[in-house]
């Protein structure tokens, strides 16, 4: 059939549809006179139009819901799988259905995860999964649900792991944020488990509240370690990659930007997920919003290199800074692994009044504050010394103006420096409030140095040159050095600007 012919059929089809049944047939006969093929085409189309009313009316995701979600796996409850007797279903996740089962060789309960075929049909993935399971199984830690074995029974894959009874943090979150006295200890427990794994080069890749269980005795256990490795090579066409990822995709809101983009993932992706988790435990709200579309928009921001903009502060002093550093868009700006993160959480717990070691690299910024303060003070003194070289009354005016501005600038800068040493958690807010004044004072000081240079130039060229240099340096500092040290200290976040 040609497009032109199809056009012809279309027209006749619509014309026929406009006529009521009894006249329709006569109309068609006349219209398609001498073209039996056309008549047949239109008639069959009309018939299928009548029969298939509502066909395709339901969008694809409704029609193919089962397909999108995968076949609802037949329950294995009560069945005997090799040495395992399946007792009951305890959960369903992206990777498959999890059962409580009895390992009859050892007489103990295990969690048996029946992996969905999507997860196991690809030999490369299967091999990779087996390797991951082996490396994870070789590792046991009280904060991690131990993987016992990857079992192949009748061609299907199962992961047998420690059976943990309790509630997931997701369930715990349903009643609101964690109590403040419980928050930090819980975070430290999770970070301890993560750190132990990271030290061995094991990355979780899918940390989220659903994957952390609080046992009835209070101990936290991280589930599914290292098993969420999913992505095929990054050169795979994006659609294939997408469907591949889709199967084991956790909640996208916990994935680091580089993970969402399908890039290489290391311990820092876990650090990111930990940040989101910590935020959620502290506030019972997801930092990017509950709604997937909003999360999606926030993630675009992150992928564009922005920082997660978080508007509120957390109930534990100093935790803000730690969490924000976890959630930096660029992996290099996060903690390199949970080990450093754990150290900071511990120092928060000790209630250390000092800036937690390395939580925010403030050193350069602090230095900058001191150097600028010293410079402003000494230059003001220098103006006092040279005031007679300037025509009256400029010497005195410039000195007094400089004295006033330097007092403002030095006081505020030293104040900020002091805050950074003693109350780092307040620094953000403090700086946001004071910095405009500092900026203004310094800019005017720079202008004053240049004015002084202009007034003494000629008879006193050498000191004038010094003033020009310092004036220029002041502007350079404001425009370049200060922003650099501020950025490095992590004080330039949107939250600080809001």
């Amino acid at each position: 059939m040609t497009p032109a012919r199809w056009q012809q059929i279309n027209e006749l089809f619509h014309a026929a549809l406009e006529r009521e049944q009894p006249t329709r047939h006569v109309f068609l006969r006349t219209a398609a006179e001498g073209d039996p093929d056309l008549l047949r085409e239109v008639e069959t189309l009309l018939r299928s139009h009548e029969n298939a009313r509502g066909f395709l009316d339901e969008p694809a995701w409704g029609v193919a819901a089962e397909l999108i979600l995968g076949e609802p796996a037949a329950s294995l409850t009560g069945r005997q799988l090799g040495p395992y007797r399946v007792v009951q279903e305890i959960g369903r996740g992206g990777m498959g259905v999890v059962y409580a089962a009895e390992d009859q060789r050892l007489g103990r309960m295990v969690a048996l995860k029946a992996l969905t075929p999507e997860y196991t049909r690809d030999p490369i993935r299967r091999e990779r999964l087996a390797r991951e399971a082996r490396s994870t199984a070789a590792f046991s830690h009280p904060g991690i649900a131990t993987v016992f074995a990857l079992e192949e029974i009748d061609g299907e894959l199962y992961i047998a792991s420690e059976f943990v009874e309790g509630y997931t943090l997701r369930e715990e979150l349903q009643t609101g944020p964690l109590a403040v006295d419980r928050l930090l200890p819980s975070l430290i427990e999770i970070a301890t488990a993560l750190a132990a794994a990271h030290e061995r080069g094991i990355v979780h890749r899918d940390l989220k509240p659903e994957n952390v269980i609080r046992r009835t005795d209070g101990q936290l256990k991280v589930l599914d370690f290292g098993l969420a490795s999913t992505t095929a090579s990054s050169e795979a066409p994006s659609f294939t990659r997408l469907t591949e990822v889709g199967v084991a995709l956790g909640t996208p809101g916990y994935m680091a930007p580089e993970q969402l983009g399908g890039g290489e993932v290391d311990a820092r992706a876990d650090v990111f997920a930990f940040g989101v988790l910590a935020w959620e435990l502290a506030t019972a709200e997801h930092p990017f919003g509950r709604d997937p579309a909003a999360a999606l928009a926030r993630m675009t921001e992150l992928m564009g290199g922005g920082s997660a903009s978080l508007s509120r502060s957390l109930p534990v002093a100093g935790l803000d800074g730690v969490v924000r550093r976890c959630m930096r868009a660029a992996p290099a700006e996060r903690y390199p692994s949970a080990v450093a993160l754990l150290a900071d959480l511990r120092s928060l717990e000790r209630g250390a009044t000092r800036q937690p070691a390395g939580a925010i690299p403030l050193w350069w910024w602090q230095c900058h504050q001191l150097v600028v303060s010293a410079l402003n003070a000494s230059m003001t003194a220098a103006v006092w010394l040279i005031r007679q070289w300037m025509p009256r009354p400029y010497g005195s005016v410039i000195f007094l103006v400089a004295l006033m501005l330097a007092t403002v600038s030095v006081t505020l800068r030293l104040n900020l420096w002091f805050t950074s040493r003693v109350h780092p958690e307040m620094l953000d807010r403090h700086r946001a409030r004071l910095f405009p004044a500092v900026l203004g004072a310094d800019a005017l000081l720079g202008t004053a140095w240049l004015a002084a240079a202009g007034l003494i130039a000629g008879p006193h060229d050498a000191p004038a040159a010094l003033f020009v240099v310092v004036g220029a340096a002041t502007f350079a500092s404001l425009a370049l050095i200060e922003p650099a040290t501020t950025r490095q200290a992590g004080l330039d976040r949107p939250a600080a600007r809001n």
Binding site: Q7, W61, E66, L67, P252
Partner: protein
Amino acid sequence: MQEDDRQSLETLLPIVYQELRRLAAGYLRRERQGYTLQPTALVHEAYLRLLKDKPDRWQNRAHFCAIAAHSMRQILIERARARDAQKRGGERQRVTLDEALVRGGERSIDLIALDQALERLAALDAEQARLVELRFFGGLTIEETADAMNISPATVKRHWTVACAWLARELEGNSHA
């Protein structure tokens, strides 16, 4: 569509996909409880949100809808194929359309056959094929489709009627073959 828009859309697709899963799950849940469901057009919603957030970046809504609908089609076909591949040499399993959805007797939609039929339709009338993609895979309403394609709702309706009839006939032929 700009290259960087396309790129960021591709990285967003996992989220679109996740949302697709959520819609499907909600659909099944309600279906089982006997509700009739009018699912929101995901593509439409996602686009509106993005538009609100970044008005300057996502101006080309038609493209956004087209790409999102097309990706959903890809995802579904890919999955349907994967499932076929699983059935070693056996009869191809049809994706069963819930009977309640279609009056007029038992019917099932073979997504792969539909995809192929849609390709054939595209050769006859590319606009109709695009329209079916937006409506069926993207879940857009008649009005939204008209908007996205920059044609009148009446034209959408006409195209939709004949395209559906044609596709239904093609699939029927296929199932008898």
